[in-house]
């Protein structure tokens, strides 16, 4: 009984941290289950994928209701994240667990470094963030379609522009679909190998490379995470790598934590939380490396 309650509490802590810092819980659940409860890495990845799907489905539902997520762009890119997840989910069972631990430690260090760099370059709390920084003003989608269809010699280009316009929002135009496809496939592979949602790849990809405003990119990434994780979670489930007695308490904890986190977020000083989190990620990365050696 104590272990079950500890697992719920651990999942809740992962959910709160993840929610406050804008990360999926996956990056915390895998170390929690491997280092904290002694699970095999692959078993922890399977449970983490279930938790990631649950939190992303709830959040994506709200984003769709509020028209923040771009369903068309999300569905186009998630075809490729799903293919990546199929590839990653298949090779995860061929790789040595120690190699997976090293990869996970590398991911933790990368996130810690990115967060530390953002702390240095981000203005003090209270300063507004220009969410359209990368999605700078561009022609409206209807203009793009019109421009593409008025030149008969540029039919191929026109077709591409028409697709991009169809995937664009009312106040921004999507660009670089090719880069988005390649990046999404890579995000799917990483998600399946390491049990994370892959938002740390998809959000910058959509925002910086494809010109999607940050808020929309984050919401659309959340939508895509469900399918990305489902494509590989099916593999873990059918291979018997998901233990219901571990997945149940952890998923309930993460769901409660994410719900609490979203409610207390406005009252929490995230900058200090980030600092603590960077330290936690660093220590966890060292422990994951120690497991690999």
């Amino acid at each position: 009984m104590i272990v079950g309650l500890l697992m719920i509490a651990g999942g809740a802590a992962a959910g709160i941290f993840g929610s406050l810092l804008g990360l999926g819980g996956g990056i915390l659940i895998v170390p929690l289950l491997t280092i904290g409860f002694g699970l095999d890495l692959r078993a922890a990845v399977g449970v983490s994928l279930v938790c990631v799907i649950m939190t992303s489905s709830a959040a994506a539902g709200v984003y769709l209701e509020r028209h923040v997520a771009n369903l068309r762009l999300g569905m186009t890119l998630e075809l490729f994240t799903a293919i990546g997840a199929l590839i990653g989910g298949s090779i995860a069972f061929l790789l040595d667990e120690r190699l997976l631990s090293v990869l996970f430690a590398g991911l933790l260090l990368y996130v810690a470094f990115s967060m530390a760099r953002a702390r240095v370059t981000t203005p003090a709390p209270g300063a507004t963030t220009d969410t359209a920084a990368a999605g700078e003003p561009v022609a409206a989608p209807d203009d793009a379609v019109q421009a593409a269809t008025t030149d008969p010699g540029a039919l191929a280009v026109g077709r591409r522009e028409a697709i991009l316009a169809e995937l664009s929002g009312s106040d921004y135009v999507v660009r670089n679909l090719g880069r988005g496809i390649v990046g999404s496939t890579g995000a799917g592979v990483v998600s399946a190998l390491l049990g994370i949602g892959g938002g740390i790849i998809k959000v910058p990809l959509m925002h910086l490379a494809m010109g999607v405003p940050l808020r929309t990119a984050a919401a659309t990434s959340n939508l895509m995470i469900g399918i990305t994780a489902a494509a590989s979670a099916v593999i873990y489930l059918l291979r018997g790598e998901i233990d219901p007695y571990v997945a149940g308490p952890t998923a309930i904890g993460v769901f409660l934590g994410a719900t609490i986190g979203s409610r207390i977020a406005p009252r929490v000083n995230v900058r200090w939380l980030q600092l603590a989190f960077i330290v936690v990620l660093g220590v966890t990365a060292v422990q994951m490396l120690a497991r690999a050696i």
Binding site: S57, L64, L79, G240
Partner: protein, 128 residues
């Protein structure tokens, strides 16, 4: 806002509500399983039973924690898949065939995931 845009937004809102509904249903099933698990003194580290679809319904009737947990877990994994199916139907109604193709591609990939496990003999076989 054009009529098409209004329809699109209503369609997305319906899908959003569906996702929320199924997520809460999954959480209810998992929570029931966890409560039963704790009440019967099962530790998460005891090692759960293998998934056996044939016994799940009977397990629900006998308040078997594992049955609630397995159905809850499968509902969680199926939630985004049902969203893709709903979206495919919606896009087909509005004649957005590129997006219908994307949705069918996603479903084909999920089926390929299942087939890849079945072909390697790992279906419902722990440690395969």
């Amino acid at each position: 806002m054009t009529t098409r845009e209004v329809r699109r937004r209503a369609f997305e809102a319906r899908i959003g509500r569906w996702l929320i509904l199924v997520t809460y249903l999954s959480v209810t099933l998992l929570l029931t399983g966890v409560v039963l698990m704790i009440a019967t003194g099962i530790s998460p580290l005891d090692g759960g039973p293998v998934l056996d679809p044939a016994t799940l319904i009977a397990g629900l009737a006998s308040l078997d924690p594992a049955a609630f947990l397995w159905i809850g877990l499968m509902a969680v994994i199926a939630t985004p898949v049902t969203r893709v199916i709903a979206a495919a139907v919606g896009f087909a109604r509005t004649g957005e065939w590129m997006l219908v193709a994307a949705a069918l591609g996603i479903l084909a990939t999920i089926i390929a995931s299942i087939a890849s496990v079945a072909l390697t003999g790992g279906l419902f076989d722990p440690g395969a």
